[in-house]
């Protein structure tokens, strides 16, 4: 049973990532490939604050999210000039940079040895360490993310984001300050990704750079595309499916040495099938351009 709850917690954390990436990629149409970098910042910030200074994980979570947002604002800068594939490459580069920093700044992050013994959240002296209570915590954050992004997208502001996705030049001709909107979207998306990273760190209690490889960014992007760009429910479905499906392989009695690469192959296969049969994703309305 604990195993099942564990899967749900991981799926929940991925959901926060996919929802926030959907705001950037699905609604605003910015090809961002480095989403996990924001989670990495969030995770390391709150872990290091807790381990080195004994700062409460709650404060760490907020600090991590803010630092991730700051990085988001920095990433937004090239996005003001770059489009499509070029932006994808730039954000991909960012993912690599953040990963390399986590791996090589040994004096701060302990590099590949990782950070063990990260404390868990606590409320009124009660440690949220058992899986049930942590599941509730994660689900609350999923709900929060969902509501905030739903509000943002379901408004005149959100309509402008969709306009930017559809045609930047036409948006400018309609008097929309496209750059401002891109900046806001990156900051908000990075904020929630930072939260997801922090939630992950305090749950697993150990982080190392291998949790934040570029492959993870691609997995999150897959969740968004799979569920449907511009559909929040799609992002939830996408995250859960892509977390749960590979786990099913275990029940087929496959050793993990085969199951792990198979996971990647399943993702690839799913994507190919989906792009042929339903290019807008399971629940999405917008076609991938």
């Amino acid at each position: 049973m604990d195993y099942l709850i564990h899967i749900l917690i991981i799926a929940g954390i991925y959901t926060i990532l996919s929802l926030s990436l959907n705001l950037i990629v699905g609604y605003t149409g910015l090809a961002a490939l480095g989403h996990i970098a924001f989670a990495c910042i969030g995770a390391y910030t709150s872990s290091l604050l807790a381990l080195n200074f004994g700062i409460s994980p709650w404060m760490g979570l907020i600090a991590g999210a803010i630092l991730a947002s700051t990085l988001g604002a920095i990433v937004a800068y090239p996005s003001l000039r770059l489009k499509g594939d070029y932006l994808a490459l730039a954000t991909f580069g960012l993912g690599v940079i953040v990963y390399s920093i986590a791996k090589n700044w040994v004096s701060l992050t302990r590099g590949p040895m990782g950070l063990p013994g990260i404390p868990s959240f606590s409320i009124f002296g009660y440690q949220i360490s058992n899986v049930w209570s942590y599941l509730i915590l994660v689900l609350l954050f999923v709900l929060l993310t969902y509501i905030v992004i739903k509000n943002i997208t379901n408004s005149p502001f959100g309509r402008i984001l969709k306009g930017i996705r559809e045609d930047e030049i036409a948006s400018l001709a309609m008097g929309k300050s496209v750059n401002k909107y891109k900046l806001i979207v990156f900051v908000v998306g990075a904020f929630f990704a930072g939260i997801a990273g922090s939630l992950y760190a305090h749950y697993i209690s150990f982080i190392d750079p291998s949790s934040f490889t570029i492959m993870e960014s691609i997995t999150v992007l897959l969740m968004v595309v799979f569920g449907g760009m511009g559909s929040l429910k799609g992002s939830i479905v996408g995250a859960f499916l892509l977390v749960v499906l590979p786990e099913l392989l275990r029940f087929l009695g496959m050793p993990s040495s085969i199951a792990a690469p198979l996971r990647q192959m399943i993702y690839g296969l799913l994507l190919v099938v989906l792009m042929i049969w339903r290019p807008q994703g399971l629940l999405g309305k917008y076609k991938f351009k």
């Binding site: 005149p156 502001f157 306009g163 559809e166 030049i169």
Partner: protein, 252 residues
Amino acid sequence: MLQVQNLHKEFDGIKAVDDLTFTIVENSIVALVGPNGSGKTTVFNIVSGFLKAEKGKVILDAKDITSVSPYKIACLGIGRTFQNIRLFPQISVLDNVMLGLKYETGDRFSAAFLQTRKMKKEEKQNIKKAEELLKFVGIIEKRDELAENLSHGQRKLLELARILALEPKIFLLDEPIAGLFPETKRTMFGLIRKLKESGKTILFIEHDLHSVMDIAEKIIVLDHGKKIAEGTPEEIKQNKEVLKAYLGKESL
């Protein structure tokens, strides 16, 4: 109200706009005509801020707007359409028009985040405004269609409705009747006349000199980026320079 002074623009050494000067007076319909490649759209792109000119000035209501960013120029009162129609394809026709409408505070991030009452109120008012505009151009029955599913003529009309929503001081229409059926063409001209009657200023591009004769009050003829003639349709008809450069041996 709109003044273009000594505008210069080169692309790889080829002069696209060459020392162009003209003035558009308020509440008039002016046609910018010229053969393909004569620099008409380049002029539009410079005036609306999408391109930077090497030399020259663009002045709107005594305000120098040369090399101001395009979205600011749109806010200052220049609304433009595009030759190859730039709609927001995968959103509804109504939403396309709503993207042109102004909000007081309802389109801000904070309004969206908090789902303010003010936002919902403004949204309701703007839906009504957008519907009025769709009625005005005659495609209200397409309200909930995706813009990409419209026919060419309907797209042209939607693009017009969308810049109407922007309420600009001057309309720059890039080939508003290109590729339209005669009937839709008449509709479009009818709408342009209505705009003029309600006090708006219109500058539009067209490469076919015949079609602009009975709608334009003034015609500016470009050839190779240079202004070769300017005047009323009557004057243009008799201008030898125009007949030679633009129409070749063909006569009107």
